[in-house]
Symmetry: C2
Subunit: 223 residues, 2 copies
């Protein structure tokens, strides 16, 4: 009765993601993220809710959330993805901007044995190259207290912990700026109308960062 196709795993992963920042994942949001028609989402979501045990909670027009079982399955795939990204960068010399696609294909086919071996080889890393936390082997995910760089105000200092983007050109741009996990950021000024921030990155700069970027950089503020 339980199903674990690539497609199902992609749905679960995406629902997990969307329900991190909202109570429920809407049909349209899922369709946009998955690159399928909304009607296709409805169909799949109905199936995921009907399966035994159910993988999602679903009521017509009310959006969808993961069940315990669905979350477990989602975290398993997310663990695969993030371990793979880390492995590709650390062991095979990939750059952080081109690991996503490869990991997206591999994540669905690796065995638990493979997962264990790469985790071991990497020394059980806590975060992937973008700073995304890697679920533990027991599928627990540490709560992340980081907030978007865009929420900082002048004079605040912070450390970049996570870059919420998979877009290769953007990642290359951030790499050029030095705006990568571990970087120290000091906000010098903000421009209230266009929401630009003027920042020092590891003491270098100043650089002006638009909201489009600063909302995707997650930081921990230094006290």
């Amino acid at each position: 009765m339980t199903i674990e196709t690539t497609s199902v795993q992609d749905y679960l992963k995406t629902i997990f993601d969307l329900t991190q920042s909202a109570a429920t994942a809407s049909t349209t949001a899922l369709a946009a993220r998955l690159g399928v028609a909304p009607a296709s989402v409805t169909g799949m979501v109905q199936k995921l809710a009907a399966v035994n045990p159910p993988l999602v909670n679903y009521r017509k027009h009310q959006g969808v959330t993961l069940t315990e079982e669905g979350q477990r399955a989602a975290l398993e795939v997310i663990r695969h993805h993030r371990l793979l990204e880390t492995y590709l960068v650390q062991m095979l010399g990939y750059s952080w901007d081109n690991v996503h696609e490869e990991a997206c294909r591999l994540e669905h086919v690796i065995s638990e044995d493979f997962e264990t071996r790469i985790a071991e080889a990497l020394g059980h890393p806590q975060r992937d190259p973008h700073g995304d936390p890697i679920p533990s082997a027991q599928l627990t995910l540490p709560t992340d207290h980081s907030l978007p760089l865009s929420t900082l105000r002048p004079a605040q200092q912070a450390v970049v912990v996570r870059v919420q983007s998979d877009d290769p050109p953007l990642l290359r741009h951030l790499d050029g700026l030095g705006l990568i996990p571990g970087a120290q950021v000091t906000v010098l000024a903000e421009s209230p109308f266009d929401q630009n921030l003027e920042v020092l990155i590891d003491g270098q700069g100043p650089k002006v960062i638009g909201l489009n970027i600063s909302s995707q950089i997650h930081v921990e503020v230094k006290d």
Copy 2:
């Protein structure tokens, strides 16, 4: 028009394999190897022949062979498979008896970039852990002059180059015997009725090997 699904790749790989030892691959043989019904093979093979460019040559009731294009696609997948097996053993500590399944899943999803990186990391190996030759990046495969151990006669000496099996229990058994690529074998005696061979393996033994095993061990005779 060209198709490259997992299923198609499995068909092409299997046709390649079967046409190594026979002029043509039969519907039944393909069905048995692929674990599908003969009728399914007919359907797929018709599609592979109808596609543009055609991937197989097919005439009703005459069996099937690969076209240039089909062979190229098959060798690409075989290269993936054998590089992966080698990588799993050398870099991730897999034992040779449990790499096949993992490689079978990964071979369909890795990129050319991934292929290149693992080939590089391994120093461009010529053979995988079972001794199977790895097609070059240009998809050429050195002709293999090895012959089955079962064809040797008493007093002949040979070196194991290749073990033609993916069966984990058999591979573990061979590992226990030391009958692995590189091993020196000396035939002491043959038993004409049951086709057993009495052999020395790296000077150890003697051991008695049945036809079931000796036909799957490929060797190069020492002159």
